[in-house]
């Protein structure tokens, strides 16, 4: 069937901000869909609130709406654009949910919009547990036995059917609070009783436990002619019980016979047909009882998913791109396979390597949260590795995670603790598993405790055995064959350096192993990911390294640049950096250079084989990068776009003679070095807050005494404010120095005077070494002390004195020139007591680059890449400072809801996972859209609870006045209430949580409060406030924790009450700006 001609204009809904469970993979799928549909001649309209995505680049769609992903905003977009169809299957659960809402509320019908990809009925069957269960019964496919109960009696009746162990999941509780697993009737009664109490509906699901079963996923595609193919099978290393997003996963399935695999395949075909997903990709999860092979289906996603991104990268089959083409009527056999060119997409990829995905968590950012892995996903990113064996891929995957120095199990680990760490799934379980095998646990024992399949464990054991053979030996005694065998198993030079010694028995450096390895001629080759196991020639250089005979890199003699990517997502280093890397590739392409990407993150656009000319899917480590550099012999290597990952390698690469282009790593290093940077600022006469460095408690106290409390303390060389704290006294300082960081002469602790209540400003600029263009001056809405990544910021700044703006412009220019920046630079300023201070300078791409690019319409990263290859700013026709019409606000999104027990308060440690952008003619309107985009539902009316600290009390009156003016009812705790009432305003009183009842928490629960303004009371956050904030989160009541944030919120509420929602595309904004 050829492409449909009855539809011309298609609306694609994106997935919004990066959150846990919904990350870059939907930028990847959305970008592919936009490109595919546009190339087919459709008019593509895109809506997505996330400015850090490639998909929202204005070139990718005909019109790009960076607007909140709410049903209202999408409706407004539909009303304005009148698309013929809506593609809801490439924007994650967010897009699917919005499509369902708009279908059910009649919007789609009203405007004649057809859902393509998946119809409403299919979405509902897949998403509704009960409908899905019924559908599976119809086609005879087993599901876990389960039922809902509303009383203990009903629960007793059900248990004989469900059987032990049984999982109890109370309905509608946050994060499954109140549930559990019962192994006997005593536990069962106890947990069911608790669950019924916890559930607001007094209802709980009782489900057969399949914890410990083997878990599989199949990626399925179907076209309108009912052709169905399986793209990839995935087997989870971690058995059932751990969310697949938190599991180590392996492609293809390893321990299924063909018969079992085909039974699963048959079931997948039946399921996609029964659910009725007409076209595109779906993901189906299965569980298999390892004792007898009994198979059940767990769930189905009727859309592309995180696993589809993984499957695409694992096989080379671009699922989202093909899904988009199928949605507009093509059949699989009409679409060519890009990689082989000669064969069609109607086949099942076969692979001749092993793929391992390992998640990356950020529990260190949420110290009081429960680190146990379970049914709710908690990881923030993942790395994928490709090897010819599981062992090789696994070890490459582990080093891709960039755990500095590798994870070390505690020294005093006793047997019972080790057993517990094996039984309870956690981020570190893999390391304990390896440890157990090292200290002599048998595979059977480890299997008994972890339920990890014997095949995987035996492979790990082979790695451990090889370690035993090598440990403690001198490097020079290792023969070529031994070293080659170790490299084939995936051992890194760094790991070998840790295992081996030099000839005197002393520790080795990674570089010594590398040197010896090169002497012995042990070098990797590069093989291709080609969808077909080499059956056909591949035309796309999508490469991975391994230790074998034949190299397929086929390097060219073009002028070429290598771009180092940012590795797995983590808090503080996410999609923004991938965005910059992609832009570097696009820019190099425009300039006639061959672009070569190195990265290991399967979610991203950068690891799409379409993005660069050549893709190396490899760990971003010194060893792996050097091998690629020596193979490719590039003209230059770009390290300033991928965040901290490549920057950490920069000096070492420079030392190894790698031609790094753009700002010199020496300058980057200088900006990080306290002493040198301080000297530079002195020379330029640019003020910075008093500061010092310390390597011991005593030094720290001395520094603090000199500059005065409060001080901001942090380790050097960190990203995202890792372990950054504001410290108010010696005791806390000692505590920080002793427990929070391991200070050393190489890694001292940085101590800065903390400028309380200062305004913070981020400036991004371009520099070619001769001239500086200021790209954006962004004012933080939250005050200093809150990590810049966690603060909303507004472009252009408002209410900052011109003299201060001028000072910042001047400082930016002077510093950029002094640091000889070629490319991007980001500077953070603070205005404190009417004076501008420099907080830090980052001569590299910053997190705000995509935001500023979207707001100004100028592709900063692209220009920066061009500057690095020698072009000059004068060639780009840019003013001295880019201007924006309107207000652009970037607002962060936080994962607190996933981390029980964590206080959702902002601080110097970054904890947001993603961001949204709001655009409007005025500040309030922009902040409103940003808040809506971030999922905050601001009230039009109702009750507001105010409790502020003494410093903020004077400002509380003005806020109260405005809120009352808009008709809100106010309640406050005693101190705040007094202040407000003394200004002649009406304000009710409410108890603090520990004062009496009904207290504020009760009022939140009884839905009398629609907005909370609660600024923390100084140094320690009290239980009381935490309880308020937790309750606010549970009941989805917006909670503002800073005064400046509260002011912005009030402006947004005013906009909500007084203005109607308007949506506009970026292209229109930019055209208007250009016209002026």
């Amino acid at each position: 069937m050829p492409k449909r001609t009855d539809i011309k204009k298609i609306l694609i809904v994106g997935s919004g901000p990066i959150v846990i469970g919904q990350a870059c993979e939907f930028d990847y799928s959305g970008t592919q869909a936009c490109k595919a549909l546009k190339s087919e001649g459709f008019e593509v309209i895109l809506i997505n609130s996330n400015p850090a995505t490639i998909m929202t680049d204005p070139e990718l769609a005909d019109r790009t709406y960076i607007e909140p992903l709410t049903p209202e905003a999408v409706r407004a977009c539909i009303e304005r654009e009148r698309p013929d169809a809506l593609l809801p299957t490439v924007g994650g659960q967010t897009a699917l949910n919005i499509a369902v809402t708009l279908a059910e509320n009649g919007t789609l019908e009203e405007f004649g919009v057809e859902l393509i990809g998946a119809k409403l009925d299919a979405i509902k069957v897949a998403e509704d547990r009960l409908l899905f269960k019924r559908a599976m019964e119809e086609i005879g496919i087993a599901m876990p036995r389960s039922g809902y109960v509303k009383s203990l009696q009903e629960a007793h009746d059900l248990i004989s059917f469900v059987g032990f162990p049984a999982i109890i999941r109370p309905s509608f509780t946050l994060g499954g609070t109140g549930g559990g697993i019962a192994y006997n009737s005593e536990e069962y009664d106890e947990i069911v009783t608790r669950a019924l109490q916890a559930s607001p509906l007094h209802e709980t699901l009782i489900e057969q436990s399949i914890i410990g079963w083997k878990e599989y996923e199949l990626e399925v595609m179907r076209d309108l002619a009912d052709n169905v193919v399986i793209i990839c099978s995935i087997e989870n290393f971690d058995p059932m019980g751990v969310h697949t997003g938190d599991s180590i996963t392996v492609a293809p399935a390893q321990t299924l016979t063909d018969r079992e695999y085909q039974v699963m395949r048959d079931a997948a075909l039946q399921i996609i047909r029964r659910v009725g997903v007409e076209t595109g990709g779906s993901n189906i999860q299965f569980a298999l009882n390892p004792a007898n092979g009994a198979m059940i289906v767990i769930e189905m996603n009727p859309r592309v998913s995180r696993s589809s991104a993984l499957a695409s990268k694992a096989t080379g089959f671009p699922i989202a791109k093909i899904a988009a083409k199928l949605a507009v009527g093509y059949t699989l056999d009409e679409i060519p396979n890009d990689i082989t060119r000669k064969t069609p997409a109607s086949f099942e990829p076969t692979i001749d390597y092993c793929v391992v995905k390992i998640p990356k968590w950020a529990f260190e950012k949420f110290p009081s949260s429960d680190p146990t892995l379970g049914v709710q996903m908690k990881s923030v990113g993942e790395a994928m590795a490709i090897g010819r064996t599981f062992k090789e891929a696994f070890q490459k995957g582990l080093r891709s995670l960039e755990v500095r120095g590798g994870y070390r199990v505690p020294d005093n680990l006793d047997d019972s603790e080790l057993r517990r760490r094996l039984v309870v799934p956690s981020a570190e379980r893999i390391y304990f598993t390896l440890h157990a095998l090292t200290v002599g646990y048998s595979i059977a024992e480890v299997h008994e405790l972890t339920k990890i399949d014997l095949w995987f464990l035996d492979n790990l054991k082979e790695i451990i055995e090889r370690e035993h053979e090598l440990r403690g030996r001198a490097l020079e005694t290792i023969s070529h064959d031994e070293l080659y065998a170790a490299k084939q198993m995936g051992f890194s030079d760094l790991r070998l350096a840790a295992l081996l010694t030099n000839s005197q028995g002393a520790a080795l450096a990674e570089t010594e192993v590398r040197k010896r390895r090169i002497e012995l001629g042990v070098r990797p080759v590069f093989k291709r990911v080609d969808t077909c196991g080499a059956e056909f020639e591949s035309f796309t250089p999508y490469l991975y390294s391994t230790y074998e005979d034949e190299d397929e890199a086929a390097v060219t003699d073009r002028k070429k640049i290598i771009i180092l990517g940012s590795g797995p997502n983590r808090i503080g280093q996410g999609i923004e950096f991938d965005y910059c890397c992609c832009h570097a590739a696009f820019a190099l392409d425009e300039e006639g250079y061959e672009s070569i990407m190195v990265n290991c993150n399967p979610e991203t656009v950068s690891t799409d084989y379409d993005t660069s000319d050549r893709l190396y899917f490899e760990p971003v480590t010194f060893e792996d990068v050097m091998e690629i550099v020596e193979k490719e012999k590039p003209t230059g290597v770009i390290v300033q776009f991928g965040g901290q990952t490549p920057l950490n390698l920069a000096m070492k690469l420079l030392g190894a003679g790698v031609p790094i282009i753009g700002t010199s790593p020496t300058s980057i290093d200088l900006a990080e070095d306290r002493k040198l940077f301080g000297a530079l600022l002195n020379q330029l006469q640019i003020p910075q807050p008093p500061n010092g460095t310390a390597t011991s408690n005593e030094e720290a106290r001395n520094v603090a005494a000199e500059i005065g409390y409060p001080v901001l303390v942090r380790p050097s060389y960190v990203l995202g404010g890792r372990a950054m704290q504001i410290v108010y006294d010696d005791t806390s300082l000692d505590n920080y120095m002793t427990h929070a960081v391991a200070a050393s002469p190489e890694h001292p602790v940085l101590i800065d005077s903390f400028l309380e209540n200062a305004s913070e400003i981020d400036v991004d600029a371009l520099c070619d070494g001769e001239r500086v263009v200021i790209a954006g001056i962004q004012q933080h809405i939250e005050e200093a002390g809150i990590h810049s990544g966690d603060s909303s910021c507004v472009l252009p700044p408002y209410g900052i004195k011109d003299e201060h703006l001028d000072a910042m412009r001047r400082y930016t220019r002077e510093m950029a020139m002094a640091l000889k920046v070629v490319g991007l630079v980001n500077i953070q300023f603070a205005i404190f007591n009417d004076k501008v201070y420099v907080l830090e300078v980052n001569p590299r791409a910053s997190r705000t680059v995509p935001f500023v690019s979207k707001a100004t319409g100028v592709p900063l990263a692209k220009i920066a890449a061009k500057l690095m290859i020698g072009r000059k700013l004068s060639e780009f026709n840019l003013p001295e400072e880019l201007q924006v019409e309107r207000f652009y606000i970037k607002t962060p999104v936080f994962p607190f809801v996933k981390f029980q027990g964590v206080d959702p308060i902002l601080g110097p440690e970054m904890r947001s996972t993603g961001e949204v952008m709001g655009v409007a003619e005025n500040f309030g309107g922009a902040y409103l859209k940003a808040q809506q985009g971030a999922g905050t539902r601001l009230p039009r009316e109702g009750g507001v609870f105010i409790s502020v600290n003494d410093q903020d009390k004077p400002f509380a009156v003005e806020l109260a006045r405005e809120l009352i003016e808009m008709g809100f009812r106010l309640v406050a705790t005693r101190g705040t209430q007094r202040i407000i009432e003394s200004a002649g305003l009406e304000c009710g009183f409410v108890y603090k949580v520990n004062e009496g009842r009904p207290n504020v928490s009760d009022m939140i629960k009884s839905k009398q409060i629609n907005l909370i303004i609660n600024t923390p009371l100084g140094r320690v956050s009290f239980y009381d406030e935490r309880a308020i904030r937790r309750a606010a989160m549970q009941y989805s009541v917006p909670c503002v924790t800073t005064m400046t944030g509260a002011t912005a919120t009030v402006a947004a509420i005013r906009a909500l009450r007084e203005e109607t929602l308007t949506v506009r595309s970026l292209q229109e904004y930019h055209a208007q700006a250009a016209a002026k």
């Binding site: 005879g140 002619a225 009912d226 052709n227 193919v229 099978s233 293809p252 399935a253 390893q254 321990t255 299924l256 016979t257 063909d258 018969r259 079992e260 695999y261 085909q262 039974v263 395949r265 048959d266 390892p290 004792a291 007898n292 092979g293 009994a294 059949t331 699989l332 056999d333 000669k342 064969t343 069609p344 109607s346 086949f347 099942e348 990829p349 076969t350 692979i351 001749d352 390597y353 092993c354 010819r388 064996t389 599981f390 595979i443 399949d453 014997l454 095949w455 035996d458 082979e462 093989k527 077909c532 196991g533 080499a534 059956e535 056909f536 020639e537 074998e548 005979d549 034949e550 397929e552």
Partner: protein, 387 residues
């Protein structure tokens, strides 16, 4: 144990030997299936061939008592990137290493199998020698060159059964595990057989017979050289032609018999059976550069437009241009547009180049057995009508 694989063009791979310590020669081919090595090894179509698996990790789930497709391993040797040390599957009975050793079949592991696959892809499948006792590379290369060429080689009569027999699923209980058989088919299998099928054995796989039996056929298996008269004497409702190894052209006796049977009985051929059918109707066959061996081959049914993902294992193909007017091509391979299915316009005769019985591979084509059944059904009713 060191082992070596040499090709007739002089290229040599050195690795580790497993399975039996011995030396074999054969045509070196590659298979792209990720799973199913046990079925592949026991597929008689691999007689005379040394099989390289493109998927690097082989042996993971061991070998079990149910998944063999014939009485023994027919492949001459097995080449893999890594032989799994562990065996993990609830049905596993022994390791692949032991299985090969017991049947005196050599294996070679720890070589760059992808380089071997690319070599064959570029230069075509060729003769090779796999040896665990090589003295010198030149010696092994010489042995590779001394192996018979596949072109013109009759292997079907070698692997075929020596006497007719009636198929009873001797493994029914072992195979048992009812969840492995689609429920509907299992129910039908319990019915009294409605049709009598004579199956020409050129190297058949058990799952073809099971597939026929599951649909209610009584199956009599006959040797490759059984005469047309002898088949007539069995009074079949239909004739099924199996897959098998080697070149179809030398099987002139078989082709002669088929010519006598076409038009008299519904006939369904697969793989070598399909090629023989092509020859019997007057067409020609030719050798493909490196054949189709794997479970992901896209085949388009030209009558419906549907694409099925098929299991394939063949080195020869029917030349579409050679077919007479009264035959038409019904299926093509979408990768290279070669003929994948034929139909006689005047008689109830059809054949496919691929494996509807799968094992290993996807079940997309299993409908073809039903099509054969329907053919026998309508022949039977029209025969009744004409009386």
């Amino acid at each position: 144990m060191d082992a070596i694989l040499a090709l007739e063009d002089g290229r040599v791979w050195r690795g580790r030997g497993f399975g039996a310590a011995t030396e074999v020669v054969g045509e070196v081919v590659f298979n792209t299936s990720i799973t199913g090595y046990q079925e592949i090894l026991t597929d008689p179509s691999y007689c005379g061939q040394i099989v390289t698996m493109t998927y690097p990790l082989i042996g993971n789930y061991g070998v079990n008592g149910e998944d063999s497709e014939s009485r023994k391993i027919f492949a001459e040797g097995l080449v893999v990137r890594e032989l799994s040390r562990a065996v993990s599957n609830w049905r596993a009975a022994e390791s692949l290493d032991d299985y090969l050793r017991k049947q005196n079949i050599p294996g070679l592991s720890d070589i760059d199998t992808r380089s071997l696959v690319r070599h064959i892809r570029e230069r075509g499948s060729m003769r090779g020698c796999l040896s665990t006792s090589a003295v010198s590379e030149t010696e092994v290369v010489a042995k590779a060159r001394s192996a018979p060429t596949m072109l013109g080689l009759d292997l079907a009569t070698v692997v075929s059964c020596k006497a007719p027999y009636v198929w009873t699923d001797s493994q029914a209980s072992a195979y048992g595990a009812p969840r492995l058989i689609p429920a509907a088919a299992a129910a039908e299998a319990l019915l009294e057989p409605r049709f009598h099928v004579v199956a020409y054995d050129f190297g058949l796989k058990y799952n073809s017979l099971r597939s026929l039996a599951a649909l209610g056929c009584r199956v009599t298996v006959v040797p490759a050289l059984t005469s047309a008269a002898a088949v007539r004497a069995l009074k079949p409702d239909g004739i099924w032609l199996s897959n098998g190894p080697g070149d179809p052209e030398p099987l002139t006796g078989v082709i002669g018999n088929l010519k006598k049977l076409i038009g008299h009985y519904p006939i369904f051929g697969i793989c070598l059976g399909h090629q023989l059918m092509g020859l019997a109707v007057g067409g020609r066959t030719y050798k493909l550069p490196f054949g189709h061996h794997g479970g992901n081959q896209p085949v388009k049914d030209l009558t419906t437009g549907r694409v099925e993902i098929t299991a394939q294992n063949h080195g020869f193909a029917v030349d579409a241009d050679s077919l007479p007017q009264d035959c038409e091509v019904t299926h093509i391979n979408l990768n290279d547009n070669t003929v994948e299915g034929l139909r006689h316009k005047n008689y109830p005769v059809f054949s496919v180049q691929y494996h509807p019985e799968a094992a290993p591979g996807p079940h997309d084509a299993s409908y073809l057995f039903r099509r054969f059944l329907n053919m026998m059904e309508s022949e039977k009713s029209s025969a009744v009508g004409s009386l």
